[in-house]
């Protein structure tokens, strides 16, 4: 543990800004609501972000208006905290709005990094983190006025961590280079009380109890990528990922496999009413499950045509089969963002 904290601190750098030289004019598109939209978040209003720097805001969840955003970079994630909104995306762009998404400023833009942010999370209006590709991890303590890069070797699997520690003893520079290239994509961070959960590339599932200063990686018997992780209650954490994989962790035990018989990648978890939970994925796939989730043995070599889904697991597809990225409940409706734009999901 000490080691990882040390690694983390050592990996903290101040970030260069290159925001001033850059401002693109938004193209107000009539098809914006049918464009590739990648994330949605809501508080007293709804914010949707997507390709080409599209940001859509709605007060009522029905009518959305496109906002003038000073970037064309594809935005992958957004978060709403009070009246503040942050959106992050490709070219390591971080955007901020202090007025419910009406006007936007660029807080960070580093196309030369060639890395996208994939998620953003704020603990309050001042403190937040943005995570992304190849271990990209930025933190702000001042509402995004300044962002600092961190590298968390603790997110690596134990073998890699061991290897890195070995080379570190010999050459600190080489260690930094290796760390830079070996870190996985950090696809999703979720906050539950004081616990932070992380889902990422190559079987990465981790949690942190100190706002992401240090991480404790879970062991999962799966090497594919995870795209979302969410606690369902005090004892249950759910993770979804590549090719229809769902794993559930109960009472801090082993991660267990849930058979869906679907091989569409699952992007997000949506907790429904009662005991229902949904996983939304590519090809318009929507997996409906009932808690407590039944589990079974995972057999990667089974013939897919013989597959039998676990009890209560139902796979359905939305009509246009567009990839479902995320969804949120707002004003009694479930609004989803898809590769074909905004969709209202009919959940029973």
């Amino acid at each position: 543990m000490k080691k990882t904290i040390a690694a983390c601190i050592a990996a903290t750098f101040a970030v260069n800004y290159s925001t001033t030289a850059f401002a693109e004019e938004a193209f107000m598109a009539s098809l914006v609501e049918q464009s590739v939209l990648l994330d949605i978040d809501a508080d007293s209003f709804v914010v949707i972000v997507g390709e080409r720097g599209h940001i859509l805001v709605s007060e009522d969840g029905n009518t959305f208006s496109q906002k003038n955003v000073p970037t064309h970079s594809t935005l992958t994630a957004t978060t709403v905290v009070g009246n503040h909104v942050w959106a992050v995306g490709h070219d390591a762009v971080i955007l901020h709005s202090a007025d419910k998404g009406e006007t936007w400023e660029i807080q960070n833009y580093q196309p030369e990094l060639q890395r996208p942010f994939l998620d953003v999370l704020f603990f309050d209006e001042q403190h937040g983190i943005a995570t992304g590709a190849y271990g990209l991890f930025y933190r702000t303590q001042d509402g995004g006025k300044s962002w600092n890069a961190e590298r968390h070797a603790s997110l690596l699997d134990p073998m890699d961590q061991e290897y890195l520690e070995d080379i570190r003893k010999e050459d600190e520079t080489f260690y930094q280079q290796e760390l830079e290239s070996i870190l996985p994509h950090l696809n999703r961070v979720t906050l539950d009380g004081n616990t932070l959960y992380m889902a990422g590339e190559a079987g990465l599932l981790a949690k942190s109890t100190n706002m992401g200063e240090s991480w404790e990686r879970y062991y999962v018997d799966y090497t594919g990528s995870f795209f979302d992780i969410k606690p369902l209650d005090e004892n249950t954490v759910l993770a979804v990922g590549l090719r229809g994989n769902i794993f559930v962790n109960r009472n801090a035990g082993e991660w267990e496999y849930v058979q869906t018989c679907s091989n569409s990648t699952l992007n997000s978890i949506l907790v429904g009413s009662g005991s229902t939970v949904y996983a939304l994925g590519n090809n318009g796939m929507m997996i409906t499950a009932q808690r407590p989730l039944p589990t079974s043995m995972r057999d990667p070599y089974a013939n897919p045509s013989d597959c039998v889904a676990d009890e209560g697991i139902v796979a359905s597809q939305i009509k246009d089969k567009a990839a479902l990225l995320n969804a949120t409940q707002f004003n009694g409706e479930t609004i989803a963002v898809t590769a074909n734009g905004i969709k209202t999901l009919n959940l029973k």
Binding site: N187, T265, K321, A339
Partner: protein
């Protein structure tokens, strides 16, 4: 001059007849080899800027001459053995049809139809239909169904509701077996027989669209045109009989007019032309113009014969009197039609040659042969008696009409004409260029072809209605992020233009591939800034996709359109021109255009650009010839003004009937002028002669009406009745033309006998008429 000709011709009557007989037999023989001939390229303005781009890149990206065959299952589900067997047969059959570009036959069965899927280790993929596919095995069908989803071809190769699958092909311009231009009509017939004929049954339906099929269907419909010609000729014959009251005088002008048509067709064949289905109405026009002159001729002979001078002298007099006005009328038609040659679209040039040749031969057949033949008749006392009463009734009728040239009626007529003109002018401003409706405008909406078009548009996301914007840049440009980003941004702006249904380019595909390389995560659906990553994404897109050429220096952005209405096309083309300015650099040009709609855009622009010059040239020819023959500006004006008003009204009618100005309808206005000018010149030639002799305007007009008016009135009505039967045609094109021509025959006739004298009154005013 006229006297010399008269002596020469009538002195050697028998020789003349024999010469004509020989020529007719020879040209008739030639005409019997007449073939229908349609080609894609001759409908295209090959020298238009867009078409230069199209031709330059045709090798790499294929032409715009596509065939789409949708094979549909009657039970609305393609996943059954019978369907896949049929689809395979259709694919193979299409592959072997001569003239199909075999490397570009695409369906589920083509090896280039592949799927990829993301697995933990990267990509997995293969052909959608595996090599060991056995259609009788339900599991094999299930596998194909799964692959179809992974290949992301629903809406393109498979109908959105899974009831149909598509086989597409591109056609060659040159027949690979003969080296000659491709025989489109033969190909269309093969498509019908070998695809629909063989494979359409109670379980499967076959829907074929594309230019070749459309023109094939038009050619099939054009075969009824013969029937309508026959009806028109029969009606004309009956009418002429009532007019002439003599079987011989009925037969002769008709025969001479038919001889003119035979000569025209024979000459066309002799110079190696075929008849385009869209020009099939020209022979009828030649016939109509022939009848118009023929009736003038028999009318003139009759007028002479009633004085009892005998057929030969009557014919000679008629020949003498009509050679000049008739000759001028026909010559101005000929020259007028020839001016269409300046329009750089093959089919219009063909029409210019066809029509002008046809009109020119009428000078020989109806102004020369006809009086010669009539001179052999015996117009005896019995014949003369038939006309005694008629002349008197006619006189009374013409006196009423002649009142049109009194000052007050003339003023009213001119006022009404002016109002009509203004109204027509404004209406004509709204005339649309190009096709106004979805589907093929030459065919009825209920036709099989248009029904097939609607079905395919309905069931698939893509149609034949697409336009490609070619991004011309430097070699290896596709590895440059800035080039690809410019393409992508431009494409997005174009997708937002109303009328664009969807779009695809190397840039948009590269983004999807890039997401694929990142575990299919949509958040990575971007153009990578890293060059190696970009190259990796692009390397999965083969040149056979049609999205890039060999060294990716040219990349099309393909816009699929909701329809090919002229408005939609011009909206999209304008948007291209606006948006491309933001992205073009010295090294990167966004050039219009390829694809079927690109061709239409060029054609529409060429037609639109040709419209005014064409009118100018046609009227210029008429004005020049009138000036030369009448040596009077006033006379020229009274002929030309009604003609112009009628042509404007005809355009207004086209607007009202929603007939767009296309390569096939563009020449109609010019042809209409050709019909109208005859009437005016005949009436005016007598009238100006009388005026010179010292008659008042009204007297001169009365004399002109008595002498020529009945023939004009008669011809106008007869031909109008003949063409009005075309509204029953199975070709929408012929129906439209029938309406337009009926209008032109009638209104031009009215223009000549009502508006012309009213105008004359104002231009000559009190000439020879101090008391008026």
């Amino acid at each position: 001059m006229t006297h010399f000709l008269e002596k020469l011709v009538f002195g050697n009557r028998k020789i003349v007849v024999v010469l004509f007989a020989i020529a007719t037999v020879f040209l008739g023989y030639q005409a019997s080899h007449m073939r229908l001939d349609a080609g894609f390229e001759k409908n295209i303005p090959l020298n238009h800027e867009y078409m230069k781009t199209y031709i330059e890149h045709r090798q790499d990206f294929g032409g715009a001459n596509n065939i789409l065959v949708s094979v549909c299952d009657k039970n609305d589900n393609i996943y059954n053995q019978n369907f896949f067997d049929t689809l395979k047969n259709v694919h193979d059959q299409l592959f072997f049809i001569n003239g199909v570009n075999r490397s570009l036959v695409i369906s589920l069965f083509s090896p280039s139809t592949r799927f990829t899927e993301i697995v933990e280790g990267g990509f997995a993929g293969g052909p959608v239909i595996p090599a060991d596919f056995n259609s009788s095995n339900p599991e094999a069908l299930e596998l194909v169904a799964a692959n179809v989803e992974k290949a992301n071809i629903v809406g393109r190769q498979v109908a959105s509701d899974y009831s149909c699958a598509m086989v597409t092909a591109q056609l060659l311009d040159i027949d690979p077996q003969t080296g000659e231009p491709l025989d489109t009509l033969a190909l269309a017939a093969e498509l019908e027989e070998q695809l629909r004929g063989q494979y359409e049954n109670e379980n499967t339906s076959i829907h074929i669209i594309g230019f070749a099929k459309m023109i094939g269907d038009v050619a099939d419909g054009a075969k009824d045109v013969l029937l309508f010609f026959a009806i028109a000729i029969a009606i004309t014959a009956v009418m002429v009989y009532f007019f002439s009251r003599s079987v011989m005088l009925t037969l002769l002008p008709l025969v001479c007019s038919i001889i003119a048509v035979v000569w025209q067709l024979g000459l066309l064949t002799s110079i190696g032309f075929g008849m385009d289905p869209m020009s099939i109405l020209v022979p009828f026009l030649v016939f109509a113009i022939g009848v118009s002159h023929g009736v003038q001729m028999i009318n003139a002979v009759e007028k002479q014969a009633v004085t009892g001078i005998g057929a030969k002298r009557a014919s000679m007099a008629a020949f003498r009197n009509l050679l000049v006005p008739g000759g001028i009328a026909l010559l101005s038609d000929t020259v007028g039609f020839m001016t269409l040659l300046v329009i750089d679209i093959g089919i219009i040039r063909e029409l210019a040659i066809t029509a002008s040749m046809g009109v020119a031969v009428i000078i020989l057949t109806n102004l020369l042969l006809l009086p010669v033949l009539m001179s052999f008749l015996k117009l005896d006392q019995k014949y003369v008696e038939k006309f005694v009463g008629k002349e008197n009734t006619n006189s009374r009728f013409w006196e009423v009409i002649a009142a049109c040239s009194r000052k007050k009626p003339a003023a009213i007529i001119l006022a009404v004409t002016a109002i009509l003109f203004v109204f027509g002018h404004f209406q004509a401003q709204n005339m649309k260029i190009g096709d106004l409706h979805a589907g093929a405008p030459a065919l009825h909406e209920t036709s099989r072809y248009n029904q097939d078009t609607f079905l395919i548009t309905d069931k698939y996301e893509v149609t034949v209605d697409y336009i490609s914007i070619l991004v011309e840049t430097t070699p290896e440009a596709c590895t440059s992020h800035s080039v690809m980003k410019a393409m992508d941004d431009f494409q997005w702006k174009m997708e937002n233009v109303q009328g664009v249904q969807s779009a695809v380019s190397l840039a948009s595909v590269a983004k999807i591939v890039n997401a694929g390389y990142n575990e299919g995560n949509v958040k990575w659906q971007v153009l990578p800034r890293n060059q190696q990553t970009l190259v990796q994404a692009i390397s999965r897109v083969p040149t056979s996709s049609g999205l890039l050429n060999g060294d990716c220096s040219v990349m099309p952005i393909i816009l699929f359109m909701e329809d090919h209405k002229a408005e939609t096309i011009s909206r999209v083309v304008d948007a291209v021109k606006t948006y491309r300015d933001e992205y073009q650099t010295d090294d990167m040009k966004f050039s219009l255009a390829s694809g079927p709609v690109g061709v239409m855009a060029a054609t529409n622009e060429a037609v639109s650009a040709a419209q005014d010059p064409m009118m100018l040239y046609v009227f210029g020819a008429v004005i020049a010839l009138c000036l030369i023959s009448f040596r009077s500006i006033r006379a020229t004006l009274v002929v030309v003004i009604p003609l112009y008003v009628v042509s404007v009204l005809a355009q207004a009618l086209m607007t009202y009937l929603q007939i767009g100005l296309t390569v096939s309808t563009l020449p109609v206005i010019a042809l209409g002028v050709g019909i109208g000018v005859d009437y005016g010149i005949y009436i005016l030639s007598t009238k100006s002669l009388m005026l010179k002799k010292g008659a008042t305007v009204q007297e001169a007009y009365f004399a002109a009406l008595k002498e020529r008016g009945s023939a004009v009135l008669f011809t106008g009505i007869t031909l109008a009745i003949g063409v009005s039967t075309w509204v029953f045609s199975s070709l929408k094109f012929q129906m439209d033309m029938g309406i337009l021509l009926t209008f032109m025959f009638v209104v031009n006739m009215l223009g000549a006998i009502i508006v012309l004298p009213a105008l004359a009154r104002f231009l000559w005013w009190n000439k020879n008429d101090p008391g008026a």
